[in-house]
């Protein structure tokens, strides 16, 4: 983190970089409550496949969502690197999301973020608010409100 401070600018946002396969995604750190290791997930019957179930997070029952399935990628493969990122949305709702692995924290200057257009047919881009560039690599930035708000529409 210390190294990051040097490039801090007044318009910077911190993202946690997570990986799905080889692709890198960023989650705005202000939504992140916690990152926990993979643990036993209790299946909930009769819910969409992307809801993997619920976990016990310090005595609270928290639903866990597969972003892979949500984005139309293949099913998660649980490895030692799999993590559950606990997200706290603006409405107070707490949701866990499965990721293949957590890479690092980056600070992106808003000028380094490119907006994406929505015309892509690919499902996953529906949840992306922009593409950030860091050390020559591309990071797709999640718009969590899109990820979890979309659900109400399908209801």
């Amino acid at each position: 983190m210390d190294g990051l401070k040097e490039i801090e600018s007044y318009e910077s946002i911190q993202y946690i970089v997570v990986k799905f396969g080889d692709e890198q995604f960023g989650i705005d750190i202000k939504y992140i409550d916690n990152i926990v290791r993979m643990q036993r997930i209790t299946r909930v019957p009769n819910v969409p496949a992307y809801i993997k179930g619920v976990i016990n997070l310090r005595g609270e029952v928290v639903p866990v969502v597969s972003l892979r399935l949500k984005m139309g990628l293949e099913e998660d493969e649980i490895t030692k690197l799999t993590r559950i990122i606990i997200i706290k949305l603006e409405n107070g709702e707490v949701i866990g999301v499965l990721v293949d692995s957590v890479k690092e924290v980056v600070t992106l200057d808003t000028r380094e973020i490119e907006k994406v257009s929505y015309d892509s047919a690919e499902e996953k881009t529906n949840f992306i608010s922009g593409i950030g560039k860091d050390k020559g690599e591309l990071i797709s930035l999640f718009d969590l409100n899109l990820v979890f708000a979309e659900k109400e529409k399908s209801n």
């Binding site: 019957p45 619920v54 016990n56 029952v61 707490v94 979890f148």
Partner: protein, 696 residues
């Protein structure tokens, strides 16, 4: 006088009196000649006026004053209660409620003078022909108190009996203190104070009398005790013995200065002959001793003084519901911790060790009792919600021009406070629904050979771990075909779907958003926001709504609510290798069923259990997993009950009974119908809770 500390009491009592007034007005409407009712209304109006006056709410006082005037005439038989008058009185009631509301919110009654109501009331009075009614000094509360109407001579005769202080017996210490006081040239008086029987805040009045007396001297003895007086544990009189330096008239004047004091009987106390039997020995003692005795005698008086100065406290405590929520959460945590302890002990294999086992069992019983106590604290009768309904039905009756009557039972049934707070609107919707859609007009009812006056029933009762509230009417019932036709017309379903639909499914359509079969939209109901709101509200409280209806005979809406929202006793079961909890409250029995006992009715599996044909529900199918049992294995069936319906839930294994804490699955998981929540087991694992009611 600073009245703010009495505001709460005032509000509580005002609401009570308004409710009483409303109930009595309803009675009066039924039976306009009933003298008891008229008297009761008069008293309630009078009381309200007195209270409003005491608290300085002038507008409220004026309005109740005029209401009282009208009733005074009704009572005297000079005017008769009729429909239009009762209407006006109901409007007055609404106005009074508005004042009360304002006072509650801002501790000010507001600025609405309600002149039109006052005028209407005066018109009623004027209408009877003899004008002087208004000038009649109804304000004098003494008038209404029968006992005071006795002649002065009779009063004097009664004085002896009223000097109740004479009945006070003195202990030796008291006598010494009194003797000492007299020796010092002080006056000792006994006095009995009578508070007017119409006085509302009598404890407050008594408190003021106390305060006045304490300024003049020292209260030695008080009967009943100062504490009891504070708690309003006295009728209308109390007696004190006071040591004072001022003379009798001054003391009496001070007492009479407090308003709503009916009378004060006072006389100096002469320590009688018996005193001389005891006191001389005391007097002979050294001065030191008597001083210390004097001091000892004073202590109780001082203590009384202190407690008298405290604001009136009831035996009840008002607690913010949030604090109770916190308490409930802590109890939940405790139970989870206890469960982990139990499961840890089991895995360690030390449960056979009685030095571990016994404390754990004790802990279990304590946590169970603790939970029950906290739950009970949170329970309130639904009365506070339903008591406004009779008036609502009356108003609806006028508005819809239908004759109807509401019958209620089980108002004392208790529910969790948070549920009670939420249940009012859904019930109101259902009642309006019954009044508007359910009941037919008087002509149609006549034609159908029903009594002209429609009946609506609201019955509440406890059924196991549930509370059931039924709203029933003897109206037209739900016309299933009309519902289907409407749904087709609205494009909700196709004609084919409609034809294939069972009656039950058709009735369920009513609970869909923006569905109303009312041919005309009235401002009572029929705006399409109603039953769906009722359903979602009840479901948010973990309850459910069921409808029974018979065309031409009426319908019943049955609301079923869990007694507690937080902690239940559950049966833990295994289905397809997963753990689930089923509320023990809904389970009747557990049966072991051989596969050959399963019969088929309309292609559905049923069993015949002691004469009852019970449908089987294979939980592994509902829960979408694979049963661990083979087809030839015996079935473990939990027989569950909802109302008069039974069903058998087939599970793989029974794991035993456990107290579980219900946790919500969160908004994000689209409430899967069969799963009502989740719970955390002792080992930290999550088990889902099956809502048996949703399966039936």
């Amino acid at each position: 006088m600073d009245v703010s500390q009495y505001l709460e009491i005032f509000l509580d009592e005002t609401k009570e009196h308004l409710q009483n007034l409303s109930d009595q007005l309803m009675n009066l409407e039924q039976d306009p000649e009933n003298m008891d009712t008229i008297n009761e209304i008069f008293r309630a109006a009078h009381t309200l006026k007195g209270m409003a006056g005491t608290m300085g709410y002038k507008r409220m006082q004026n309005l109740t004053h005029d209401m009282e005037n009208v009733f005074s005439e009704v009572r005297n038989g000079t005017i008769k209660a009729d429909g239009s008058m009762i209407d006006i009185l109901f409007q007055c009631l609404d106005a009074l409620e508005e004042y009360t509301e304002n006072i509650q919110n801002t501790s000010d009654e507001g600025t609405n003078d309600n002149e039109h109501l006052i005028k209407a009331l005066n018109d009623i009075l004027a209408g009877k022909g003899s004008a002087p009614a208004v000038s009649e000094p109804v304000a004098a509360p003494a008038e209404s108190a029968k006992s005071v109407q006795s002649t002065p001579s009779a009063a004097t005769q009664n004085d002896e009996a009223k000097e109740k202080w004479k009945a006070i017996s003195f202990s030796d210490t008291d006598k010494k203190v009194l003797g000492e006081a007299i020796k010092q040239g002080k006056n000792v008086f006994g006095l009995s104070v009578f508070v007017q029987e119409t006085c509302i805040l009598k404890a407050a009045r008594a408190f003021l009398v106390y305060k006045a007396l304490e300024e003049l001297g020292e209260i030695m003895i008080s009967v009943p005790s100062a504490q009891d007086i504070e708690d309003e544990k006295f009728d209308f009189d109390f007696s004190v013995i006071i040591i004072s330096e001022v003379d009798m008239d001054k003391v009496k004047a001070a007492v009479m200065n407090v308003s709503e004091i009916e009378n004060c009987y006072i006389a100096p106390i002469e320590l009688e002959v018996e005193k001389h039997d005891v006191v001389p020995s005391a007097e002979e003692k050294s001065a030191e001793v008597s001083v210390s005795q004097h001091a000892a005698g004073q202590t109780p008086a001082k203590a009384e003084k202190k407690s008298a100065a405290k604001p009136i406290v009831n035996r009840t405590v008002r607690v913010d519901i949030e604090k109770l929520d916190v308490l409930m959460n802590l109890v939940s945590e405790l139970i989870i911790a206890k469960n982990s302890l139990v499961s840890a002990a089991q895995t360690e294999g030390i449960t056979s060790n009685s030095s571990v086992n016994e404390p754990i069992e004790y802990l279990e019983s304590v946590t169970t009792n603790l939970h029950e106590s906290v739950m009970k604290v949170r329970m309130v009768p639904i009365e506070s919600v339903v008591q406004k309904f009779p008036k609502m039905i009356r108003d609806l009756s006028k508005k819809l021009d239908k004759k109807m009557q509401l019958f209620m039972s089980g108002e004392e049934t208790e529910l969790d406070r948070t549920v009670v707070d939420e249940i009012g609107d859904p019930l109101m919707h259902l009642l309006r629904n019954s009044a508007d859609h359910g009941l037919e007009s008087a002509e149609i009812r006549k034609k159908r050979g029903k009594p002209e006056v429609g009946s609506i029933f609201l019955d509440a009762y406890q059924d196991g771990n549930n509370v059931v509230i039924e709203v029933r009417d003897d109206g037209n019932g739900i016309d299933v075909e009309a519902v289907k036709a409407k749904a087709v017309e609205k494009g909700k379903i196709t004609q084919e779907q409609a034809d294939a639909m069972t009656d039950k499914d058709a009735i369920d359509l009513l609970f869909q958003p923006s569905f109303s079969t009312a041919k005309q939209v009235t401002d009572v109901s029929g705006r399409g926001v109603g039953l769906d709101v009722v359903k979602s509200k009840i479901e948010s409280l973990s309850g459910d709504v069921e409808v029974k209806t018979k065309l031409g005979e009426g319908s019943t809406f049955i609301i079923r609510l869990p007694l507690t929202l937080a902690i239940i006793q559950a049966l833990m079961v295994e289905v397809g290798g997963e753990k689930y909890a089923i509320s023990l409250g809904s389970i009747q029995t557990i049966e072991d069923i051989a596969p050959n006992e399963i019969k088929f009715v309309q292609n559905e599996e049923v069993i015949n259990l002691r004469g009852d044909v019970i449908p089987l529900i294979r939980l592994n199918k509902v829960l979408d997993n694979e049963s661990t049992k083979g087809p030839d294995d015996n079935l473990i069936v939990a027989i569950v009950k909802k109302g008069d319906k039974l069903a058998g839930l087939v599970v793989d294994e029974l794991m035993g009974q456990q107290e579980i804490v219900i946790k919500s699955l969160g908004k994000y998981i689209n409430k899967s119908k069969v799963i009502s929540g989740a719970t955390i087991l002792g080992d930290g694992e999550i088990a889902l809770i099956i809502d048996a009611n949703a399966l039936l």
